[in-house]
């Protein structure tokens, strides 16, 4: 084939491939739709790469196995979907408190509760606000294509090591099941010296990874240190823009909705409307400062989400609540490009004229 280096794979598979390429050698998981292609791929290919695939007895077990494996300095990953990710929250809090890196993939489905298996973006708050207990944050990456599933997973491992912090990949059922051409590339991230890893204390001082701090002032200091770290993460902000240069209305969306929106935005532009698209790739840290600068010359913003309104709050915090409108959908159906176009047109006529 002319493009023999290009593969046709699902988003789920691309995540698994990116993980192995990035040096992930331990995977722990428990099955749940719509992300089962990840453990399926891992179960076959991780042992071939000299790694270990383990189907745990539960989601809680798998996140704690990840904590154990990553504490030794290994690159490790777990994946699940919304209800399963809820179960992992305690472990994620412990990872943050103990500063242990790890990659957690949420190919989210719809809730609340067991909800359904259709795509949803209702886990935005959980992912970006630190879904477990305590004052912590995780970096959150939101791919919108199969290629990005691969690239951002590799990046997730580098960021996790760089900040000694868990990184969440937030996708959804649409992205996980869709097949697109993928160009696998070599992982080029630099190996980080893990002078904290528990590798056996023979010949050196023992090391301790913990999240319990009881002596006077110790926990305050620890939390401030973590806070400074979360602030440093701002340099990792990533986003994509389409046609914002001349835009009067900028629509903001992430993941699969941003993808559908790309069609709607080009339809609007073909009709002569000055509409641009802003797509945050990092949901935490949110590209607040970039949006604030954009708001100096853009009159109106509109958030579109597969929820009844979560990311819109970050947008409001960035550009001010008075210039933001919202169109959202609870789980059940995926909006078509035409439907989103009509929503944009309606908003444009009302706000811009």
């Amino acid at each position: 084939m002319a493009r023999s280096n290009t593969l046709l794979v699902k988003g789920n598979e691309a995540i698994a491939m990116g993980a192995i390429e990035a040096g992930c050698r331990y995977y722990f998981g428990y099955p749940i739709t719509p992300q089962n292609d990840i453990p399926e791929y891992m179960s076959r290919h991780l042992p071939e790469a000299g790694g270990t695939f383990l189907q745990a007895e539960s989601e809680i077990a798998s996140i704690n196995m990840l904590l154990g494996a990553a504490a030794t300095g290994a690159r490790a990953m777990t994946s699940s979907s919304s209800p399963g990710i809820s179960l992992k929250q305690e472990g994620i809090s412990y990872l943050c408190g103990s500063q242990i890196p790890g990659v957690i993939v949420n190919m989210s489905r719809s809730g609340p509760g067991l909800g359904g298996i259709s795509p949803s973006q209702g886990d935005y708050f959980q992912a970006t606000r630190g879904g477990g207990h305590g004052d912590y944050r995780t970096i959150v990456l939101a791919p919108h294509s199969v290629q990005e599933c691969y690239d951002l997973t590799m990046r997730a491992f580098d960021l996790a090591d760089r900040y000694r912090n868990p990184v969440v990949i937030l996708g959804d059922a649409l992205l996980g099941q869709m097949k697109e051409p993928l160009k696998p590339r070599k992982h080029r991230g630099k190996a980080v010296d893990k002078d904290w890893a528990l590798t056996g204390a023979g010949g050196r001082e023992p090391r301790l990874l913990k999240s319990l701090y009881l002596s006077e002032g110790e926990l305050t200091k620890h939390n401030w240190m973590l806070h400074r770290k979360y602030r440093r993460m701002r340099r990792e902000i990533r986003y994509e823009t389409v046609g914002v240069e001349d835009a009067k209305l900028v629509v903001v969306a992430f993941g699969s909705v941003a993808r559908i929106l790309k069609n709607a935005v080009s339809m609007a532009r073909e009709q002569g409307m000055a509409v641009g698209l802003f797509r945050p790739v990092t949901l935490y840290p949110f590209p607040q400062a970039v949006l604030r600068r954009l708001a100096e010359r853009v009159n109106r913003f509109m958030a579109l989400e597969l929820s009844t309104g979560q990311m819109v709050e970050d947008l409001q915090l960035s550009v001010g609540p008075d210039v933001v409108d919202f169109y959202g959908r609870p789980p059940g159906s995926i909006p078509s490009p035409d439907e989103l176009y009509r929503e944009i047109r309606k908003n444009y006529r009302k706000r811009i004229g």
Binding site: L8, L174, K179, L261
Partner: protein, 183 residues
């Protein structure tokens, strides 16, 4: 260049393979492509469908409500997707399974394909899906027939590669049927 298609039928008729092969053929011609299998409770029932989008520009939505073209391998698929095809769009119907009196869709170019009969001519009635795929490609021109035939190599597991010539002649049958004016 832009093309999309919803390919639908019973589970087991090979509609997901048809979509995959179309996607591989588009890749072969260096086009952008998305393939989206049906996602929902239908998966646990008896019907299957997938959506393929081919374009030389970046593809936005992989999900299409009103497609430019559709392939209905059975009657329920015709009833569900036939009316959704865009005006002046293309609709291929498996006339070996769908009674002729049911094939009445207005405003679209509707082509009934006796896929089973043509597949038998190619040597195996189970090649009916490849016949219709050949017809779709020939009729729409979305990719070349050559690219479609090549797509069988990455599209099929190596252990089935001995069956590629049979599949290719079924694709030829479908294309030939279109070139002969649908007779």
């Amino acid at each position: 260049m832009y093309f999309d298609s919803i390919i639908a039928g019973f589970g087991g008729q090979g509609v997901l393979l048809m979509g995959n092969l179309l996607a591989y053929a588009a890749m072969e011609e260096k086009k952008n492509v998305t393939y989206m299998p049906v996602y929902g409770v239908e998966m646990r029932g008896g019907t299957a469908n997938c959506t393929v989008v081919v374009s030389d520009r970046e593809i936005g939505s992989p999900i299409i409500h009103s497609p430019v073209s559709a392939v209905a391998m059975n009657l329920p698929s015709l009833e569900k997707f036939g009316p959704r095809v865009k005006k002046k769009g293309l609709l291929l119907v498996n006339s070996s399974l769908v009674p002729e009196k049911e094939i009445r869709v207005r405003g679209v170019d509707c082509l009934p394909v006796p896929s089973r009969e043509l597949a038998l001519e190619a040597g195996n009635e189970r090649l009916a899906n490849m016949v219709i795929l050949g017809a779709l490609v020939e009729k729409s021109g979305v990719v070349s027939l050559k690219a479609l035939k090549k797509a069988l190599y990455p599209g099929l597991d190596v252990r089935y590669h001995s069956m590629i010539p049979g599949n290719q002649s079924a694709m030829d049958k479908g294309a030939e049927f279109v070139r002969n004016g649908g007779r």
